[in-house]
Symmetry: D2
Subunit: 112 residues, 4 copies
């Protein structure tokens, strides 16, 4: 995440004095709720996102997931960019290219 | 998101030829599933995140939410930093500082 | 729900002295987590449920959603059969047959 | 579930000709979305459910989870009462009374 974007999210929170509510459990709930609002756009539909109104709604809910995720990283005092890079390393061990290439299997099902 | 972090996420996907699976509907499902794995860390517990093992698990699941969100932004051909900045503007209209200050009410419940 | 099935669920809980953990917030989280495990069976796939292993997993996760829902109804001291009948009435007002017939629109989008 | 309640749910669906939309994947998504609406009642709050308005909202969302779960069982052609009884047996093996008594540990963490 660009530093100024992270700063804008934190500023948005602090201008409203919301940090007091941002305990990790309720932030995890909030990320889950925003993810559901994102998913709601695909209930009873296929994957198409061309309808302008639908595209806008999807992008906005995706942004809310990201915003709450940045707020949670701040609450946990971790850096979003660092934890993504770290997790990509871990995922790379679980999903080694030669085994995972072109496969949608879960790592637990990939041939050992 | 830092450009090189976004690039690393996309590279991780492309090295495994996974783009073929990344339709928006299944990506929305995936974000929702990762959000649930994040939330699972708080099932039957309070909000404390001090236990080292728990902290690691929380940070890793949060990273997975962010990674899938970056992949979805790419599938939608939008820029994560841009959509966050745009949404903060929209949220700022829904949650005006003077009304939302220190309040956890939903914007629909904030005094008009 | 058949009375003896509800009784079996409550007995299962009480034999393990789990009622002490069953506050409504954590039960709501648990229902959400079981719903995600159910949904995980459809990640990266279509809707087919014919593969025996997949069918078993789907049915088991659906059962867990139902079991936690029964436990939550008990924690709220409401009767599952009653609240379903009540909600069907409410939904019937929101989705009147003549407007909702053959439509997957949300009630908020149904022609007034 | 009482037979007549299950019948009322199916009748509600069929009166609106909705079975055509009820593929298992979208039903799993719907259960997940209703579970999120249930959980939303506890965002930024404790577990109290005494406020009449909140209690009504919680009960209604719980009912929606149950209604969609009944519809999914019908789509899978399984009996809700049977699958609950079956799953309680399986859970009883995973959570044996002597090991699980008074413990909120996941079965994977229970002393072997």
């Amino acid at each position: 995440m660009l530093e100024d974007v992270v700063d804008q999210v934190i500023q948005f929170r602090d201008e409203r004095d919301w940090k007091q509510f941002h305990n990790p459990k309720d932030l995890a709930i909030s990320i889950s709720l925003e993810a559901a609002e994102l998913l709601e756009n695909f209930q009873w539909t296929g994957s198409e996102t061309d309808a302008p109104e639908k595209k806008i709604s999807i992008v906005e809910e995706l942004a809310d997931v990201l915003i709450y995720s940045i707020m949670m990283a701040d609450a946990l005092q971790v850096d979003v960019n660092e934890i993504i890079k770290e997790k990509l390393k871990r995922n790379g061990e679980k999903y080694q290219v030669e085994k995972a290439y072109g496969s949608k299997k879960k790592y637990t099902e990939l041939s050992k």
